[in-house]
């Protein structure tokens, strides 16, 4: 193996992949919490509330994620200096807005698929609206929610690369920095271009993470359908 591979790989795994997984984990948890809450509220028959949540879903689903992340990273600080976030946080917020819109839509369908009798039985046992949903409806709805959530995780992991555009040091950015360092003339780098090998490796890593997850999503879909 050529000598340059080891340090570049170390850098990309320890800095890049770590940030990628960090952004992905924060975004997934955030998207689930916000999305399940909004999706459950969407089943309440109260028009103004539904209209507001619908607008939220359509806006963050409709915008390209890159534009959302640009808005958070560039436009929010311009509107008010207190709203300045690091590249990593901005990317996570952007992915949470987009992901929660997807989860909300899926949750609405999953909660709606639970039979009326379940609501009535829980109400008869003395559960209020919150208790009924938290202890009775959502645990049952989660079964239906699982395949789309695994699919969402794959999408979130792949979309973490968009953080590269605003300079967050995730896997793709760490790859780009490695390419640039190796291209630099000798005292700093080698004066050699290794873009093909490095971006190829980035692709392989993403494939190795995503492929088993897409299989899992397809399997869950078949089993739980």
């Amino acid at each position: 193996m050529p000598e340059w591979v080891r340090p570049a790989a170390d850098y990309m795994f320890h800095e890049g992949l770590r940030s990628t997984l960090e952004i992905a984990a924060i975004s997934l948890v955030g998207a689930l919490v916000v999305g399940i809450l909004l999706g459950t509220l969407l089943t309440i028959d109260f028009r103004p509330l539904r209209a507001v949540i619908r607008l939220y879903i359509e806006v963050w689903r409709g915008l390209p994620i890159l534009v959302t992340i640009f808005i958070i990273f560039f436009a929010l600080p311009a509107a008010s200096p207190s709203l300045e976030f690091s590249p990593l946080t901005s990317a996570a917020i952007g992915l949470i807005l987009w992901g929660s819109a997807q989860v909300a839509e899926a949750t609405r369908g999953a909660v709606g698929s639970i039979p009326r009798e379940q609501h009535e039985a829980a109400a008869a046992l003395g559960f209020g609206w919150v208790g009924r949903h938290v202890f009775v409806i959502l645990p049952q709805a989660f079964r239906r929610l699982l395949p789309p959530v695994v699919g969402l995780l794959v999408n979130i992991i792949q979309n973490t690369t968009i953080a590269q555009v605003i300079g967050a040091n995730e896997l793709l950015e760490s790859g780009e920095r490695s390419v640039e360092r190796l291209t630099a003339p000798p005292p700093i780098g080698l004066g050699e271009v290794h873009a093909f090998e490095i971006y190829g490796a980035v692709m392989v890593v993403f494939f190795a993470i995503s492929f088993p997850l897409t299989r899992l999503a397809a399997y869950l879909e078949r089993r739980l359908a």
Binding site: A75, T160, V165, Y199, G200, F206, T214
Partner: protein
């Protein structure tokens, strides 16, 4: 308080108006390139999806396996990395593509992979008895596909394939990384020159939402128009 907000809002709308009248021409150029690249990519993705989707559904040897590899590679790697590969990595092995070629090619290959799955699912959803009936009437394999599987399966695949086209349009914004001057790149260049950040991103977001919402409204119309008689 309300009066104060109303004044703020109207002065912001005034700013937006000035912004659009100052930079509308540049934005329109960017928008035209976004639409142009999307149109080429969508047309290409339609044909890729149709051909490879049919090959997958009917298990055409070799083509079907190659199509499966293509679909899995594209779907399981980020499109941004694919754009990097085409634009920054291929020159190393002697393949130089200009920004415009990478622009339509990258989003077309991505859309084609998702569309292959859309069409495969559509064609596979056509009941076997319809094809048997076609064979019974003396249709060959190709004629049965063109006259039976395609019109029925194509309709089933239509909504999901339009969703893919919407994603193709949204993905053209990623061409910012290769500085292809489509809408997002143009908006960021104007922003860098003018520092009118809030106006820039408001206008950018409104244009994308107008495009995407129009396309999704189109899906709902088409869905109703092309619904199969039994599903109605």
């Amino acid at each position: 308080m309300t009066a104060h907000l109303a004044i703020l809002a109207s002065s912001f709308l005034g700013d937006l108006w000035t912004y659009v009248s100052d930079y509308g021409r540049e934005l329109a150029f960017g928008l035209r390139r976004t639409i142009q690249v999307s149109a080429i990519a969508i047309a290409g993705a339609f044909f890729i999806g149709l051909v490879l989707g049919a090959a997958r559904a009917h298990r055409v040897p070799v083509v079907s396996q190659l199509a499966a590899v293509y679909v899995e590679v594209i779907r399981n790697t980020p499109i941004l990395v694919q754009i990097f590969m085409l634009y920054f990595a291929l020159p190393e092995i002697g393949i130089r593509l200009d920004a415009f070629t990478v622009a339509w090619l990258s989003v077309m290959l991505w859309g084609g992979a998702f569309n292959t799955e859309n069409f495969r699912a559509g064609f596979e959803a056509v009941p076997e008895r319809y094809r048997e009936a076609a064979f019974g009437l003396g249709f060959g394999r190709v004629a049965a596909f063109v006259n039976v599987t395609l019109p029925i399966g194509g309709r089933i695949a239509l909504p999901s394939s339009i969703n893919t086209y919407i994603s193709v349009l949204k993905n053209t914004s990623l061409l910012y990384v290769i500085s292809y001057p489509e809408l997002t790149t143009t908006a960021l260049q104007i922003n860098a020159l003018t520092l009118q950040t809030v106006e820039t991103f408001t206008v950018l977001a409104v244009i994308y939402l107008a495009l995407v919402w129009t396309m999704s409204a189109g899906i709902r119309l088409l869905e109703r128009h092309l619904a199969l008689p039994e599903a109605r």
